[in-house]
Amino acid sequence: MSEIHFNINGKEVTCRRDEMLLDVALRHGIDIPAPCHHFALPEDYGACRLCLVEIEEERWTGVDAACTYPVREKCIAVRTDTEEVRRYRQLNLQLLLARCPESESVRDLARSMDVEASRFPGIQRQNSDCILCGLCVNVCENLIGAGAIGFVGRGAERRVAAPFDEPASQCIGCGACAEVCPTNAIKTIETEDERTIKPFSPPLKLVKCPECGKGCMTEKQLEFMKTQLGNKSDVLAGCPACKVRRRAQEFAAVLRGKE
């Protein structure tokens, strides 16, 4: 695989052909706001348009999203902090702020880019902190493989939902969506016996850890993982903390045996 050399803000960088520009920048310590990017997901969705940068190619110069721009030989230079780039990012943030005026994360992000308030009236119709970045849908479908939630509606009516707006029957309650959500619009709520992924899942029964007795994963999650892992499913027994402790004890025993 050939190597590509170009510069970001004057700094020489190197990457693989077709590596995404955002990944290259982050790897080289160049900060670009990217709420809809998550390291755990193999492919970016390109939705929020905050990672805009100015790209200079051999025959074109313009603004584009860094997260979905595959770097090839024609890319010469990238500038992440031009007046135009700043203005576009700020405007897109104002649009998001008009959508989620209550969201702490969006407001923090806005403040970090010198945006205090949106100049546009609110357009939220379902009163949520969701900025429609798509991470939850992406992680559920492509990484977990459950496919419990998806986008519904078009245009400003778009939102993330479970089929027919009923409690998601495919949801295994793993909580990955809540984990990747950049605005905390999805929450994992746990009682002693049940876990609910708000606002998608029904209350899901927890499996108790055979050692400490605490709820460690939902029954559906265990079932789902067993079908995924086949006969290796014995590694699933126990909660993460107890598993770590057990491993540590085993390791310690080995060390002691060596003494």
Binding site: R49, L91, A98, P121, I123, L132, R154, G155
Partner: protein
């Protein structure tokens, strides 16, 4: 020709030739009545006309001598149902079922035109289609066989020389020569982008792969008021199929898709019938024309989302995923449908291919303007006389299209603007009417070719309202994936809506321009980046109209109901009372009778004198019914 003739595989170009010869011979000497069964004429009742003519032919016992054919769109939709007689070359507009017997007896048997049925314009009577000014300025390459072939009979297409280009290509040209022929012709994509077709084919052909390649026909025409592609598929589906098979051979694809929208049941039906017949003859499928080449076409039906006309959304939809666009830095020709090299062209582009092969790239390149070769099909609609489907050489002026072909404005109002390029195109004002119509000139004035919608507007249109209408369409058709398109078009619509309601502040125009720039520059796909066009082009040419709405709270065209008021000129009112009868909210009061100014002493004594009518402005809902019915224009709109 009997419908149930057996179709056997044609194994060589010679066999195709001999079949064409036999079909020509069989048709020779027979008279033909072609009834337009395109959607426009059907709506005007051409189905009944077709049946009536068949019946008349049956009653006279002429089934063997006269062919009655239901054809695709003839073009002049404003005057449907249309009927053409060949070989006598007689053209009848607005035919009704009652005319059937007279047409058969006098024109088909007697070869004489029925004068009262002929088209008359400007004191001239037109006997045949070419004498009608609407057709006179056109150059019909893609639409050339409309009205001549029955779209449900592949034999008609073969008789007229169809699939000869395919035979020639398969047996005489190596694939790279086909690509260079298309490149040399200067053909550019007719779907909107105007990308050089030859270059697209070449980059797909050049990719080496063992996984196979695809060709796709984009039949997802989604612009409101556009019906070019639908009409081509309904009238002459084989030219699209032949174009695709040639393209597949050129780039090395063995499988193709036609992506057709759900709202086109007639086109879908015609197309499926055509595919079936092409397979029967071995012009599609395994071992095409005995050449050893295979190519199959599948039909994929879209759900009707406008965004699915965008290439990445379209391929996603075929793959069974949500029809939303993705970033497009790597060309479809390299990685398209299921990640394989794919050529995606629209219906009209494919339909041009057989003629280019048949008549040569030099011939094609001789038509049109500097950067835009060949012809373009437009659906010409709006406030003009001759609405319909037209095909004109690139480089023709807007004025020629609107005045010569369109026959000028239909109502009493003057020309105001023409909207080209579909919902995300732009509005072009009167002082640009002499500009050339081609890809580059349209972009220069802030509009675009798009797929070929052309909407003519007169002075009764409010340009702010027009921009608001298109933004309303675009904001709801935005897939909602990226922030600027989803929320930016929504905010733009909200500002336009406020302007139309007289609620916008002075700073809103600046805001509107600011978001328009953001949406254009930072959206993910073409839907977003072209969505501000209707706003930016109307702002460029009709800024004073925006300012009148904002500053003076007036709608100069009298469209935006919040900004207009109806009143009745008491001098002009003739006391007929029609306005009061029409008013849905009973807010017009007065007494019907003779107008006081014209009443005699006697009328007064007999109590026949009326009292001029008045509108209660507080109650008025501004529906305009009174304005429409007033016989003396006494109702004023300000």
């Amino acid at each position: 020709m009997p419908l149930c003739m057996t179709r056997e595989k044609i194994g060589s170009p010679e066999a195709l030739n001999s079949l064409a010869g036999r079909l020509k011979e069989r048709a020779g000497g027979r008279k033909m009545v072609s009834v337009c069964l395109g959607t426009g004429c059907r709506a005007e009742g051409s189905g009944e006309v077709y049946e009536a003519i068949r019946e008349a032919v049956g009653e006279l016992g002429l089934e063997d001598e006269v062919i009655v054919m239901g054809s695709g769109c003839h073009g002049l939709c404003a005057l449907g149902p249309l009927v053409i007689l060949t070989p006598d070359d007689i053209f009848y507009p607005k035919v009704s079922p009652e005319d059937a017997t007279e047409i058969i007896e006098k024109s088909v048997i007697g070869s004489q035109p029925v004068d009262r049925l002929l088209y008359k314009t400007g004191g001239k009577t037109c006997r045949c289609q070419s004498e009608v000014p609407f057709y006179g300025r056109q150059e019909r390459i893609v639409l050339g066989l409309n009205g001549i072939v029955d779209p449900h009979m592949i034999e008609d297409y073969i008789r007229e020389g169809g699939y000869q280009s395919l035979a020639e290509v398969l047996y005489k040209y190596p694939p790279e020569d086909v690509v260079s022929e298309i490149s040399a012709s200067g053909l550019r994509g007719r779907g909107g982008g105007g990308f050089p077709t030859g270059r697209k084919w070449e980059s797909c052909r050049a990719v080496e792969t063992e996984d196979g390649k695809f060709v796709i026909c984009n039949a997802d025409e989604g612009d409101p008021g556009a019906f070019m592609d639908r009409s081509i598929m309904e009238a002459n589906p084989h030219t699209v199929i032949e174009g695709m098979v040639i393209g597949a051979y050129a780039v090395g694809a063995e499988e193709g898709y036609i992506y057709i929208r759900k709202e086109y049941p007639l086109a879908l039906n015609t197309l499926q019938c055509a595919l079936e017949q092409a397979r029967d003859y071995g012009l599609l499928g395994h071992d095409i024309l005995g050449s050893g080449r295979d190519f199959e076409i599948n039909v994929a039906r879209g759900g009707g989302a406008f965004v699915c006309g965008e290439s990445t959304a379209l391929t996603a939809s075929i793959e069974g995923r949500v029809g939303e666009p993705g970033a497009k830095h790597i060309h479809t020709t390299e990685s398209g449908l299921w990640g394989r090299p794919t050529v995606l062209n629209n219906v009209e582009t494919w339909a041009n291919v057989p003629e280019i092969i048949k008549r040569g790239s030099r011939w094609f390149a001789s038509i049109g303007s500097e950067g835009s070769k060949g012809t373009k099909v437009f659906s010409l609609v709006g406030a003009i006389k001759n609405t319909g489907l037209i095909e004109v050489p690139m480089g023709i002026t807007l004025r020629e299209i609107i005045e010569d072909i369109g026959g000028g404005m239909a109502g009493n109002h003057g020309f105001k603007a023409v909207q080209t390029g579909g919902p995300s195109g732009g509005c072009i004002p009167a002082d640009h009417l002499d500009m050339k119509v081609d890809f580059d000139s349209l972009i220069e004035v802030g509009s675009m070719m798009g797929s070929g919608g052309m909407i003519v507007m007169d002075e009764s249109s409010c340009m702010v309202d027009v921009a608001r209408y298109f933004l309303d369409f675009l904001r709801t058709e935005s897939c909602g994936k990226c922030t600027p398109c989803r929320d930016g078009t929504e905010q733009m619509f909200m500002i336009l809506d406020r302007i139309c309601r007289g609620k916008a502040g002075e700073d809103e125009l600046g805001k509107l321009e600011e978001i328009a720039e953001l949406v254009r520059e930072t959206s993910l796909c073409k839907l977003g980046s072209s969505a501000p066009n209707p706003v930016l082009s109307t702002l460029r040419f009709f800024r004073d109209e925006y300012e009148a709405h904002i500053r003076d709270k007036k709608c100069p065209a009298g469209v935006c109901s919040a900004l207009i008021e109806f009143s009745i000129d008491q001098e002009k009112c003739v006391c007929c009372g029609r306005c009061a009868n029409e008013c849905p909210v009973d807010c017009i009061a007065g007494t019907a009778g003779k107008p006081p100014a014209k009443a005699s002493e006697e009328d007064h004594q007999e109590g026949k004198v009326g009292e001029p009518f008045l509108i209660d402005v507080q109650e008025c809902v501004k529906c305009g019914s009174c304005f429409d019915v007033c016989p003396t224009d006494a109702v004023e709109k300000k």
